[in-house]
C-alpha cells in the first residue's frame, strides 16, 4: 500500500458533518499544500456503516454517497477506511490506537486534524504516541521553501500569532480551527481509491465507558457557536435599555453577549459574558453596543468576521476594531435598528 509520494493525511471527522465541515475544508487546503510538495491527499475514516452513514443524508442530499466517496468528491486521492461494528460510536482510545498503527505503517508526511472537541483531544494523544510535534488550533497552513509545513497558530486570544514548524520529526501535525479554509465544491466525477483497512485483532479494550450520549438540540446552540452576536456594554446605560438587545438578537436570530460591567451591573447573567473569564466568540457578524473594548473583551471577540460597533466615544478601542464604527448613543441606535428590522421583515412576509 505504500507509495513513494509524500502523503498529507486528513482525519475524517464526520460525526458532525452537517454542522461542521472542517474535514472538507482541510481536504481542500491539503490539496493546495500537496501541489507544493508534489504529494497526495489521503483521508482516514473509522466507523461503522459509513456508506450509509446518516440516513437523512441520503434522502436529503442525492449526491451524498457515503463518507469515503464524499471525501474523494471533495479532494481526497485516497481514503483509508476501517469499517467495523466496534467503531459505531466515536472512541478516543480506539481511534488513537488505529491511527497510530496505520501511521506507523504508512508513514504520512503530515497529519491534519480538525480542531473539533474530539480532534483537539485526539491530535495531542496521537502526536504523543508517534513522538512528534503538534500545533493546536491553527488558523493557517502553508509550506516553506524547505517543503516543511508552516503551522500558523494564535495565542492570547488572537493577540499574537506564531509561525511554527516541525523540522525533524514526522509526521508534521496540526489541528486546525473550523471555518478557516473554503471547501472545494462537491465533484462526483473525481476519482480516488478506497483502501479497506481491517480492524486489528489486538485492539485494546476501552477504559473510558460512555454511559450516555445525547445530541444537543440546535436550540441550545450557544454563544460560542452563534453566527451572529449582539453584545452590550456599560454604554447601554441601564438594565431596561440592555434588555432591548434581546429583542434585537431575536429579530436577527442571534445570541446576546455582554461585557464585564454589564454582567456586574446584573443587566444580564454571567453566561453571556464575552471575555477572558467568559466566552470566546467568533461570529460572522458582531454588533457591539456601548462597549469600550477592554483587552479582556476584545481578545475574546476579535475573531468576528465583521464588526459593527456603536459608541459615543469614537476613540473607544472597540470602535478601532470595528468595520463600521457608529458614533452615537448605543441604546438609541439599538432602538432604531429594531424598528428598521421590523419594518423590513414585515414587508417580506
Amino acid at each position: 500500500m505504500s507509495t513513494s509520494k509524500k502523503a498529507i493525511w486528513v482525519f475524517g471527522d464526520y460525526r458532525n458533518y452537517f454542522q461542521n465541515r472542517v474535514t472538507l475544508q482541510l481536504l481542500s487546503r491539503a490539496r493546495e499544500l500537496a501541489e507544493k510538495i508534489d504529494g497526495m491527499v489521503c483521508a482516514v475514516v473509522f466507523g461503522h456503516w459509513t456508506d450509509e452513514w446518516l440516513g437523512e443524508a441520503l434522502s436529503n442530499n442525492p449526491t451524498f454517497c457515503g463518507v469515503a466517496k464524499e471525501y474523494i468528491a471533495h479532494g481526497a486521492d485516497r481514503v483509508y477506511l476501517t469499517d467495523h461494528s466496534r467503531l459505531a460510536a466515536y472512541s478516543m482510545e480506539t481511534y488513537v490506537f488505529l491511527m497510530e498503527r496505520l501511521a506507523r505503517q504508512e508513514k504520512p508526511e503530515m497529519i491534519l486534524i480538525g480542531a473539533t472537541a474530539f480532534g483537539r483531544e485526539f491530535a495531542p494523544r496521537l502526536a504523543k504516541r508517534l513522538d512528534t510535534g503538534l500545533t493546536a488550533d491553527c488558523i493557517g497552513l502553508d509550506i516553506n521553501k524547505d517543503g516543511l509545513l508552516i503551522q500558523i497558530a494564535p495565542s492570547f486570544g488572537g493577540n499574537l500569532v506564531a509561525e511554527i514548524i516541525t523540522p525533524q520529526r514526522r509526521p508534521q501535525m496540526a489541528s486546525v480551527r473550523p471555518g478557516i479554509f473554503q471547501e472545494i465544491p462537491h465533484d462526483h466525477n473525481r476519482t480516488g481509491e478506497v483502501i479497506n483497512v481491517p480492524l486489528p485483532r489486538d485492539i485494546p479494550a476501552d477504559r473510558v465507558r460512555l454511559v450516555r450520549s445525547e445530541r444537543r438540540l440546535m436550540r441550545e446552540q450557544k454563544l460560542e457557536d452563534a453566527s451572529l452576536v449582539v453584545c452590550g456594554g456599560r454604554g447601554m446605560g441601564s438594565k431596561k435599555k440592555f434588555a432591548k438587545l434581546f429583542e434585537l438578537a431575536e429579530l436577527l436570530g442571534g445570541e446576546v453577549g455582554a461585557t464585564r460591567p454589564a454582567v456586574y451591573a446584573n443587566w444580564v447573567g454571567h453566561e453571556a459574558l464575552v471575555g477572558q473569564a467568559g466566552k470566546q466568540i467568533r461570529p460572522q457578524i458582531l454588533f457591539s453596543f456601548g462597549v469600550s473594548g477592554a483587552i479582556q473583551h476584545t481578545a475574546a471577540c476579535n475573531n468576528a468576521k465583521f464588526i459593527v460597533a456603536v459608541n459615543k466615544n469614537p476613540e473607544a478601542a472597540m470602535m478601532k476594531l470595528a468595520d463600521v464604527a457608529i458614533v452615537a448613543d448605543a441604546s438609541q441606535v439599538c432602538a432604531a435598528l429594531i424598528q428598521e428590522l421590523k419594518r423590513r421583515l414585515r414587508l417580506r412576509q
Binding site: V263, Y264, N266, E315, A317
Partner: protein
C-alpha cells in the same frame, strides 16, 4: 534594604484584588449612590478573614503582618473606599484594643464573633464637643453596683448603623475627665443602646456612619477595657494603628483615581491626539505617580516599624498625613484630567474625589498628625 514586595505580599494583593474586582466592583457605584451597605458582599468577605485581618489565630484571625494588612485595606479601598473604611475601623480600632488591652476572658467573649464578621466593630470617641480634643468627652459612665451606667451621645460613628460591638469612650469621674477616661465594650443588644439616623455624607456613602445614643445603658464591670483612667492611652494606641489603616485606604483611593486618569488620558483625543501626549497631562501624571509611590513607601515603612515592635506613632502620623493629602491632590487632578466627564456621575473619579477628602479629617485631622510629628521630632532634639 529590599524594596521588592515579598511573595506573600504579592499573593495577598492578588487575592484581595481578585475578590474586590469580582464582587465589590459591580456594586461600588450603586452603593455609593444609594448609600447602601452591601451585606450581600460583606457576607462573602466574612469567611475570607477580612474581619480578622490581624487578630490572633487563637480567636480565628488571620494574624497577618501590618504590611499585609495595609495591602488588604488598600486593595479593597481601590474599589470601594467605604467598604475599606468599614474594614479598617473594624480591624484596627474595633478589634485591636480588645486584643491588646483586653483580658483573656474578654478576648474569648468578644473576639470570635467579631473576627467572623458577625459583629462589626465601631470605635466611639467623637461627640458634639469632642473630637480632636479627646479630653473634652462628655459621655459619662457612673459606677453602680458591679457595673457602670453609661449616658451620652456619640456622633459620626463609622459602621454605626451596622455595628454589633462598640467601644465607647466615657469618663468615669466628671471632676477629672482626663484621669478617669475609660473604654467600655458595649454590645448593640444592650438595653439603652440605640442607633441614630444615618448621616447623609459627601463621600464614604456606603458606610452607615451614624450617631449612637446611650441612655442609662448598663454594662457589667467585666466589659470595662483596662482600668478607669486607661482611656486616653487605649484611645491613642488604637488611633496610631487606625492611622495605618486610613493611610492604606487613602492610598487605595489615590491608586484607583490614578489608574483611571492614565487610562482616560490615553483614550481621550483632543486636537487629533490622545491628551496623554500633551506635556501638561504628562506632568500631572508624573506628579501623581511620584506622590503615590512616596506615600506607599512611607506607609509600608510605618507598618514595618510597628511589626518590629518599635514605637511607630510618628511614622503612622507621617504616613496618614501624606497618604491622605496625596489622595486629595491625586483625585482632584484625576477629575481635572477627565474634564467635564470627571464631574459627571458617569465616571468613578468624582466618587474618589468625594471619598478622598475625609481621609484628611478622620482618625486625626492633618493638623493633629502634624502636631504628633512635631511633638515627636522636637522631643528628640532637646
Amino acid at each position: 534594604m529590599d524594596f521588592n514586595p515579598c511573595m506573600k505580599h504579592k499573593v495577598i494583593r492578588k487575592a484581595v484584588r481578585m475578590f474586590a474586582e469580582a464582587e465589590l466592583a459591580p456594586v461600588a457605584r450603586e452603593i455609593d449612590r444609594d448609600a447602601r451597605f452591601p451585606w450581600e458582599v460583606v457576607t462573602k468577605m466574612q469567611p475570607l478573614n477580612f474581619f480578622g485581618l490581624q487578630a490572633p489565630k487563637a480567636y480565628g484571625g488571620a494574624e497577618l503582618d501590618s504590611i499585609s494588612y495595609a495591602i488588604a485595606i488598600e486593595e479593597i479601598s481601590r474599589v470601594s473606599a467605604a467598604i475599606g473604611l468599614c474594614l479598617t475601623v473594624h480591624n484596627s480600632v474595633g478589634i485591636f484594643p480588645i486584643v491588646h488591652f483586653g483580658t483573656e476572658e474578654q478576648k474569648q467573649r468578644f473576639l470570635p464573633a467579631m473576627v467572623r464578621g458577625e459583629r462589626i466593630g465601631a470605635f466611639c470617641l467623637t461627640e458634639a464637643n469632642a473630637g480632636s480634643d479627646a479630653g473634652a468627652v462628655e459621655t459619662t459612665a457612673v459606677r453602680d453596683g458591679n457595673g457602670y451606667v453609661i449616658n451620652g451621645t456619640k456622633i459620626f460613628v463609622t459602621n454605626g448603623g451596622v455595628c454589633g460591638t462598640a467601644l465607647i469612650f466615657a469618663i468615669t469621674d466628671p471632676q477629672s475627665p482626663q484621669k478617669s477616661a475609660a473604654v467600655f465594650i458595649v454590645e448593640r443588644v444592650t438595653p439603652g443602646f440605640s442607633v441614630g439616623e444615618i448621616e447623609d455624607l459627601c463621600g464614604m456613602r456606603a458606610n452607615p456612619v451614624s450617631s449612637l445614643f446611650l441612655e442609662n445603658c448598663r454594662v457589667p464591670e467585666r466589659n470595662l477595657l483596662g482600668r478607669p483612667g486607661d482611656g486616653i492611652r487605649i484611645g491613642l494606641t488604637a488611633l496610631d494603628t487606625g492611622r495605618l489603616g486610613i493611610a492604606a485606604q487613602a492610598l487605595g483611593i489615590a491608586q484607583s483615581a490614578f489608574e483611571d486618569a492614565v487610562r482616560y488620558s490615553k483614550e481621550r483625543q483632543q486636537f487629533k491626539k490622545p491628551i496623554s501626549s500633551f506635556q501638561t497631562i504628562q506632568n500631572f501624571l508624573a506628579d501623581m505617580a511620584t506622590e503615590i509611590d512616596a506615600a506607599r513607601l512611607l506607609l509600608y515603612r510605618a507598618c514595618a516599624v510597628k511589626d518590629a515592635g518599635r514605637p511607630f506613632g510618628a511614622e503612622a502620623a507621617k504616613a496618614k498625613l501624606y497618604c491622605s493629602e496625596t489622595a486629595t491632590r491625586v483625585t482632584n487632578r484625576a477629575v481635572h484630567i477627565h474634564g467635564g466627564y470627571g464631574y459627571s456621575r458617569e465616571y468613578d473619579v468624582e466618587r474618589y474625589f468625594r471619598d478622598a477628602k475625609v481621609t484628611e479629617i478622620y482618625e486625626g485631622t492633618s493638623e493633629i498628625q502634624r502636631m504628633v510629628i512635631a511633638r515627636d521630632l522636637l522631643s528628640q532634639r532637646t
